[in-house]
């Protein structure tokens, strides 16, 4: 995945364009560049590295001009080199473009152009398009026509923004399958891969749909369909995200900032109208078979939800990983509920398409407005968690879990598995949860940090839990792996004695997610597994609740949460495990917000 951005203004925009691309850095960060039009000439600067590294060499923020485009890259085609970085310039230096997506027929186009004597500088699919532009412009001598003619030749998924010295006042943009949004300012306009590109400058946005192109001026814009040139009327959205939520404030890492933002995201999740929640519950009731789907963290959120539906609504819905969804034979009348933070996840999108073509109803919980998944499903809940910049998901994952808890509760009431009175009690528990989150984040920080610091050297972990705490353990193990690069395996606590127990020795560390003592069956089973580890000399660390003396006696170290409702207990433990992974990674000096080899949303297969 990559991030693209463009600005048309009447004043110098070097600094703004630089800030804009910096705000998109989490979308890709192996190379970046900017191109601006200065006195009729295109100035292009790009290099390998993160935004600040490239800026130190290329002085991107000092570029001059009132119109420009920028790109931050996460390589898919062609290695990480200066030549392969975007923007790409045409041989005659009259056209420059940035591109997000994949031009699938670029090999054949490249061969045709090579046979015509065109010399390529890079190995990217993108450079093909800039050559096509030059070729078609020489034919039509009209920029819009040339743009459309070049578009007619390429296949695949692409969002492209073009700047040309033939038209110093406009950017030419097109959207197909990769996201692209317009931002509307006063006497200036913006285009970007997501809202973060221009949230600092304007709150008015337009989400482009597939097959639409835009000629974007500083005071005007025209959105048309690529296929027939028809003008399209679009709704202007007013974004209510707080700009400050995308700034780091006093935090040294976005991850911790986003963890501390969790009380607020849960409050947002509580504000989602009940009709939307019950809409999901109705869909589930109406379905012949219903499936929960996600991948990575969202798969674990689906797993946690599985337990919510079972305990609150007496319904079993299988949770499946999006990339393995083909195991299901979808039939008309079925339903798929997908979870995706970015709404662009390739595997989830593909599986939803598969489900739709086989007649299933689809629903999704998504964080990013205007994203592909939010547009393609029959019903969507926008979780409104605000931008999440750290590559690993914390607040968005928690909010999704919380929303699924609300859906399960609603379904339980609908299916008469819980009484109105119970529903009310549970609702009160949910409403008091943000306050609880605030308390535990603040009061437990030091304890969590001390344990994480003392154990950060541990290379092998088992994360164990029973019942709903089991998928919590799996999700927490994933967090640990993502940012510490240490091995952590999530597993049902009862599973331990069926094999993995052979690994236990003093160096092996276990992190147990211990239920409330009142959840007696789960609690006893967990304690049993802890004792098995303890007697074999393994190290036992627990995330548990205060007043649980039996558990405390078995642990080497413990994070003790205040007593709370059993409904919210697994969510609180999820938060503690996020902090635990954070402080361990901090002690190890890892690149927490941008772990190696990972990107925010995986838009490739």
């Amino acid at each position: 995945m990559c991030g693209i951005s463009g600005i048309v203004h009447s004043e110098n925009i070097g600094r703004n364009l630089f800030n804009s691309i910096r705000n998109l850095e989490y979308r890709g960060y192996d190379s970046c560049g900017m191109a601006m039009l200065q006195q009729g000439e295109l100035d292009l600067r790009k290099n390998v590295g993160g935004i600040d590294e490239v800026n130190a060499i290329e002085k991107l923020d000092q570029m001059q001009g009132s119109i420009g485009i920028a790109h931050t890259r996460w390589a898919t085609h062609g290695g990480v080199t200066q030549e392969n970085a975007h923007p790409h310039l045409s041989p005659d230096r009259k056209f420059v473009i940035v591109h997000n997506g994949i031009i699938s027929n670029y090999q054949e186009l490249r061969e045709r152009l090579l046979s015509q004597g065109v010399v390529f500088e890079s190995l990217t699919d993108t450079e093909v398009f800039v050559n096509l532009l030059e070729e078609s412009y020489s034919k039509y001598n009209d920029l819009e026509k040339a743009f459309l003619a070049a578009l007619g030749e390429i296949k695949g998924s692409f969002s492209i923004v073009m700047l040309s010295s033939h038209d110093p006042d406009h950017l030419y943009c097109v959207k197909k399958e990769s996201p692209l949004l317009l931002g509307l300012g006063e006497g200036c306009n913006y285009v970007g891969s997501d809202l973060n590109a221009f949230l600092e400058y304007t709150r008015k946005a337009i989400v482009l749909d597939d097959g639409e192109y835009v000629v974007l001026g500083r005071n005007e814009y025209q959105i048309r369909k690529v296929e027939n040139g028809e003008l399209v009327e679009k709704k202007v959205l007013h974004i209510d995200w707080d700009v400050e939520t995308s700034k780091k404030g006093g935090y040294s890492h976005y991850m911790l900032k986003e963890i501390f933002d969790e009380p607020q995201t849960v409050r947002q999740a509580l504000k989602i109208p009940r009709e939307q929640i019950s809409g999901f519950a109705e869909m589930l009731t109406d379905a012949t078979h219903a499936y929960l789907m996600g991948v990575g963290t969202t798969y674990y959120v689906a797993n946690i939800s599985q337990y919510f539906f079972s305990t609150l609504a007496n319904q079993y819905y299988p949770a499946l990983s999006s990339d393995e969804f083909s195991v299901v034979r979808i039939e008309s009348g079925d339903m798929v509920l997908a979870l995706s933070q970015s709404g662009e996840t390739y595997d989830t999108k593909t599986s939803l398409e598969y489900a739709k073509t086989h007649g299933a109803k689809t629903a999704a919980v998504v964080n990013v407005m205007g994203s592909a998944i939010s547009m393609m499903v029959d019903q969507v809940i926008m979780q409104g968690s605000g931008p999440e910049i750290c590559v690993v998901s914390t607040k968005a994952a928690l909010a999704q879990t919380f929303i699924m808890l609300r859906v399960a509760l609603e379904l339980g009431l609908m299916r008469k598995q819980i009484t109105q009175k119970d529903y009310q009690t549970h609702q009160q528990d949910l409403e008091s949860f943000p306050q609880m989150v605030e308390q535990i984040l603040n009061e437990q920080s030091g304890f969590v940090r001390n344990i994480a610091r003392a154990t950060s050297h541990v290379e092998h972990w088992l994360f164990l839990g029973c019942g709903v705490y089991y998928p919590v353990a799996m999700e927490s193990a994933l967090k640990m792996k993502e940012i510490t690069y240490q091995h952590a395996e999530g597993m049902p606590a009862g599973f331990l004695k069926h094999g993995t127990l052979s690994m236990v020795e003093p160096a092996l560390h276990t992190l147990f997610f211990v239920p409330l003592p009142e959840q007696k069956v789960l609690h006893d089973r967990t304690l049993n597994a802890m004792e098995q580890v303890k007697t074999r000399g393994g190290t036992v660390i627990a995330i548990m609740f205060q007043g649980d003396e039996r558990t405390l006696a078995v642990t080497n170290q413990a994070i003790q949460l205040p007593q709370m409702s059993s409904l919210c207990a697994p969510l609180a433990q999820m938060i503690m495990a996020q902090m635990f992974a954070y402080y361990a990674a901090l002690d190890l000096g890892r690149n927490i917000d941008k772990p190696r080899n990972l990107a925010k949303s995986v838009t490739v297969g």
Binding site: G250, Q546, L586
Partner: protein, 396 residues
């Protein structure tokens, strides 16, 4: 922007090292705490510094003078009576020209420059900022609660045992209105912070690197370890003499005119201050800081210890997990026992109060100008008050 450093306080809990010096003039890893702070301020572009002084102020004035050789301009404000932080700050009002300023507690030590972070947060948020950190235990500090925007929403001075919040790290960017608040609250600084929090003004800036507030004597060892851990290279002055076979490992720092005799092993990180002498076959292990003008006799072992300077450690001694004040002389065969037989937690008797250190390894704290005769053994956590003379331990 100007900075105010509070350096007047006399904290008895740091006894036996506080009678003859003020906290900012404790030398850690070869450098005074105050020097560390001033150099960080200078690096952050702050050259105008107001120093509030009282206890042992001559030491500060003598060493820092006008600040010129450190590249800063120092203004001294004397707090005649030690009436707390609020009072100390109130004395600086006229020096600060009604502009935002940095307030720095003089007994805090960090391993990286915290002022760059706090000033960045201030420039981003344009609000009053407090640096916050996460210590091993938060019970000695002002515990803060953070809201989702990282503003401080509550301050708890005496937290409960089951709490471990972020705490005030002793550095702030404040606005001149603090002086009105101080006046209103009779110089009660905590009350002022609380009112700033209630008015929604105090932004937090998180400090996740090394941070130590010097409260008890063993914090000197902790601070020494923190600073030395950041050393990456060995630095040996050209005038130093390493005679015969001297073995060096890691980040060893040796000052001018030092002599190290043959057979000695130096394991970094360690520091030997100028004009010192280390006898034959000694073992100077990691995190040992030997202050200038010291003598370490033949066959001695030093480990995780701070010698303030002009010390004389007699032959065949062991000094571990211990601090020696200035001008301490010990005869041959001194042993600081640095753990109990069963490695239980060690407590320290300071000002007739028994304090749990939470440590299983701790030696002795020997005040300035103590003379210890030959063949003495000091138990874990022993404090020897300044000036004491202990006769030789002679069996016949």
């Amino acid at each position: 922007m100007k900075a105010v450093i509070l350096a007047a306080n006399r904290s008895t809990r740091l006894s036996p090292f506080i009678e003859t010096r003020c906290k900012p003039m404790i030398r850690i890893a070869g450098q005074y705490i105050l020097e560390n702070t001033i150099l960080f301020l200078k690096e952050a572009g702050i050259h105008e510094i107001v120093l509030v002084v009282n206890h042992q102020q001559d030491l500060i004035r003598r060493y820092f003078g006008s600040g010129k050789i450190f590249g800063v301009n120092l203004q001294y404000v004397v707090q005649d009576e030690l009436q707390g932080i609020g009072h100390a700050l109130s004395l600086c009002q006229t020096s600060l020209e009604k502009k935002p300023f940095l307030l720095v507690y003089g007994d805090v030590l960090t391993d990286n420059n915290p002022f760059l972070s706090i000033l960045q947060t201030y420039s981003e948020m344009d609000r009053e900022v407090a640096l916050i950190a996460l210590p091993e235990s938060s019970k000695e500090f002002g515990n803060v609660y953070l809201d989702h925007e990282m503003k401080i929403s509550r301050l708890v001075e005496k937290p409960q045992a089951n709490q471990a919040n972020y705490v005030f790290a002793g550095m702030f960017v404040l606005f001149p209105k603090i002086f009105d608040l101080l006046e209103k609250n009779q110089n009660d600084i905590s009350r002022c912070y609380e009112q700033m929090i209630e008015a929604g003004g105090l932004q937090a800036c998180l400090w996740e690197k090394g941070w130590i507030d010097m409260i008890h004597p063993w914090h000197i060892l902790e601070a020494n370890r923190m600073l030395m851990s950041s050393w990456k290279t060995a630095e040996i002055d050209a005038s130093a003499k390493l005679l015969g076979h001297v073995h060096l490992e890691g980040a060893v720092r040796i000052g001018s005119n030092v002599t190290v005799e043959s057979g000695t092993v130096l394991k970094g990180p360690c520091y030997i201050g100028s004009d010192s002498y280390v006898g034959n076959n000694s073992l100077i292990r990691n995190y040992s800081a030997i202050g200038p003008g010291s003598i370490v006799g033949y066959g001695s072992e030093l480990k995780n210890c701070v010698l303030f300077g002009n010390n004389d450690v007699g032959r065949l001694s062991f000094v571990g997990d211990s601090v020696m004040g200035e001008n301490v002389k010990s005869g041959s065969g001194l042993t600081t026992v640095n753990h109990t037989v069963d490695y239980s937690l060690i407590s320290c008797k300071s000002n007739s109060e028994l304090i749990e250190t939470g440590l299983t390894k701790l030696g002795a704290f020997i005040g300035d100008s103590v003379s210890i005769g030959a063949r003495h053994t000091l138990g874990p956590g022993t404090i020897v008050e300044s000036g004491k003379i202990i006769a030789d331990c002679i069996t016949l």
